[in-house]
């Protein structure tokens, strides 16, 4: 990740008074961050080597046993596969839909600002509420099947949540509903940064609307799309709330929607195996980190500034 705040040289030298100011101002934030973010992650690596029920100091050192168990455990491998599917589904569903709607909302039209607010509403609502609402709507006797029945499409009624063949697609659609607004807003902001002169010039040269979008808007939007994809991938790898709320702790694995994070919570905390749970956290961390770094290295590198980290 590119992390270089631009230099703003100061004329004054750095005296003890200034050091004191720096320490006093940034100390609390750094301490909080180290204590509650960095320290736990480091401790996970330590606890992960023990078989431990979470009481007292861990004593039963088992080396890499937990990690061997994780990698051999079929439910974990399935969860990893589900995470992979969710990453792909998030990208291929949300990406094109969001680009389409951003193009749509980038047209001349009245009420654009109202529409922007409204499509952002699902993003602001709590995961618990979204989960509760969708599990009620999608149950076998729920509203979705009711609507299908009443409009004469009764044959399309499904067991949306528990049918293993479609549950993961249901999850993909729910995630799309919840998070597509965020993508649309990002893309719209990106499009409005594209100088209007470019499309005006293209129009003058006789380019059609679609040609202009294809050859001017989309290429110039790519940096924004790449950053959105990054956030989306990281989010999908760590997905927990919606799956845990809708499918509960046991059903998610039989419905084929379990994720690494739900596996971590069920096998770790809920089963009281804290050593094992921490080892799963380490695996999740390593996988996310590897994907993040690879993405930064191979995809984001071509964007001029490390846009995500705000080096301006």
């Amino acid at each position: 990740m590119r992390t270089s705040p631009p230099l703003r040289p100061r004329r004054r030298g750095i005296g003890w008074a200034q050091r004191l100011e720096i320490t006093a101002l940034s100390g609390p934030a750094i301490l909080m961050f180290l204590a509650f973010v960095i320290f736990p992650v480091v401790m996970a690596a330590y606890y992960g080597f023990y078989r431990w029920k979470g009481f007292g100091v861990p004593t039963n050192f088992v080396g890499l046993d937990n990690y061997v168990t994780i990698l051999q455990d079929k439910p974990f491998r399935e969860a990893l596969l589900h995470n992979g599917l969710i990453v792909v589904l998030s990208l291929v569903l949300q990406g094109p839909i969001a680009i389409g709607f951003a193009l749509l909302l980038n047209q001349r039209m009245r009420g654009q600002s109202v529409i922007r607010v409204l499509i952002f509403v699902p993003y602001v609502i709590a995961e618990v509420i979204v989960g509760t609402a969708f599990s009620l709507m999608l149950q076998t006797s729920g509203a979705v099947n009711g609507v299908l029945q009443s409009i004469g499409l009764g044959s399309l009624q499904q067991d949306w949540l528990s049918n293993r063949a479609i549950a993961i697609w249901t999850l993909g659609l729910i995630l799309t509903w919840k998070y597509v607004g965020f993508a649309v807003i990002l893309f719209l902001a990106g499009m409005q940064n594209i100088p209007e002169e470019l499309s005006d010039a293209a129009a003058m040269d006789g380019a059609s609307y679609w040609q202009t979008q294809r050859w001017i808007t989309l290429p110039l939007l790519m940096p924004t799309i790449r950053i959105w994809a990054f956030l989306s991938i990281i989010g999908a790898l760590q997905l927990f709330d919606l799956v845990y709320i809708i499918w509960g702790q046991y059903v998610s694995s039989t419905a084929g929607t379990s994720t690494m994070a739900t596996y971590m919570v069920t096998e770790g905390r809920n089963a009281g195996n804290y050593g094992y749970g921490n080892a799963v956290a380490v695996v999740l961390f390593i996988i996310s980190m590897t994907v993040a770094l690879a993405y930064q290295r191979f995809v984001l590198r071509r964007d001029t500034e490390g846009a995500l980290t705000g080096g301006r």
């Binding site: 992390t3 050091r19 934030a29 960095i38 971590m264």
Partner: protein, 277 residues
């Protein structure tokens, strides 16, 4: 973008598509709110119907219950304390990053920026053990302290460019007037950065109000539940009383929606700003 020339209304197809989009996005929200005005038998007979007649009883029951208000209280305390902590610590650290030059500044920035990549999910299991060792299980500070820490990356990333944009002339002028750098921070930076502070404050508040995973680990006692845990407990406890669950759910999303509609521009601006730098 293209509003300067021609017909200001644009094509009807655009409106139709936009209308469809809004329908899909708001459908489930409307389902929750309207469903709360129905009775269970109405819901059983026609799961997707309109209230007939409208029943206000579900909402009144929820509004009269101590559980709901206790959870609203807990959520409010947690969200307000988290927001205050995130904003106070965040603006101080961002001021240092934006206005001072020192060795290790790049590393400090990288530390917070890296935190942006990892939401609390990865750290939750060891974090729970830390909170247990600190004796904070089933207490609200057990939620507040970690939330402040996890809120710092977004806050710093949004505020640093904001604080850097404060014109240097202002600082030089205050320095000539004999004002120290800290005095400059208090008298000039804080008032000038209020819009940025509001943005990060709202993001922190909504994030805290909606937070689920951390309370799920830390709060096991019904007395200390925040609203998201309350919604879940309520919906499993009254799983046969769908209408009441819908009423409870729709009442619990009001604060986030109100905050969002009041400050929508700042939230959207802040989020896109954070991502685009």
């Amino acid at each position: 973008m293209a509003t300067r020339t021609g017909n200001r209304w644009g094509s009807p197809i655009v409106y139709l598509a936009a209308l469809l989009l809004i329908g899909v996005m708001l459908g489930p929200v409307v389902y929750i709110i309207v469903g709360g005005f129905r009775t269970n038998s109405q819901i059983t007979v026609d799961p997707a119907g309109w209230p007939d007649p409208w029943q206000i009883g579900n909402y009144l029951d929820v509004l009269r219950s101590d559980t709901f208000w206790r959870q609203v209280g807990n959520s409010t305390i947690v969200a307000v304390a988290t927001t205050a902590g995130v904003v106070a610590l965040g603006v101080m650290a961002s001021f240092v990053l934006a206005q001072y030059t020192f060795r290790g500044r790049g590393a400090m920035y990288a530390l917070f920026a890296a935190g942006l990549m990892f939401p609390a999910t990865v750290a939750i299991t060891p974090l729970y053990i830390l909170i247990k060792d600190l004796g904070l299980v089933n207490t609200l500070p057990g939620i507040i302290l970690p939330q402040i820490a996890f809120g710092l990356p977004t806050t710093v990333i949004i505020l640093v460019p904001f604080l850097r944009a404060i014109p240097k002339d202002i600082e030089e002028a205050t320095a000539i007037d004999g004002c120290s750098r800290l005095g400059f921070f208090w008298r000039m930076v804080l008032p000038l950065s209020v819009p940025g502070l509001i943005t990060v404050a709202i993001l922190a508040f909504i994030g805290s109000w909606n937070s689920y995973l951390l309370p799920l680990f830390v709060l096991n006692n019904q007395e200390s539940f925040t609203l998201p845990l309350g919604v879940q407990a309520f919906s499993s406890q009254y799983s046969v009383d769908t209408a009441k669950v819908l009423a409870f759910t729709s009442l619990s999303m009001i604060p986030a929606l109100v905050f969002f509609s009041l400050f929508e521009r700042r939230i959207v601006g802040g989020l896109t700003g954070a991502v685009k730098g």
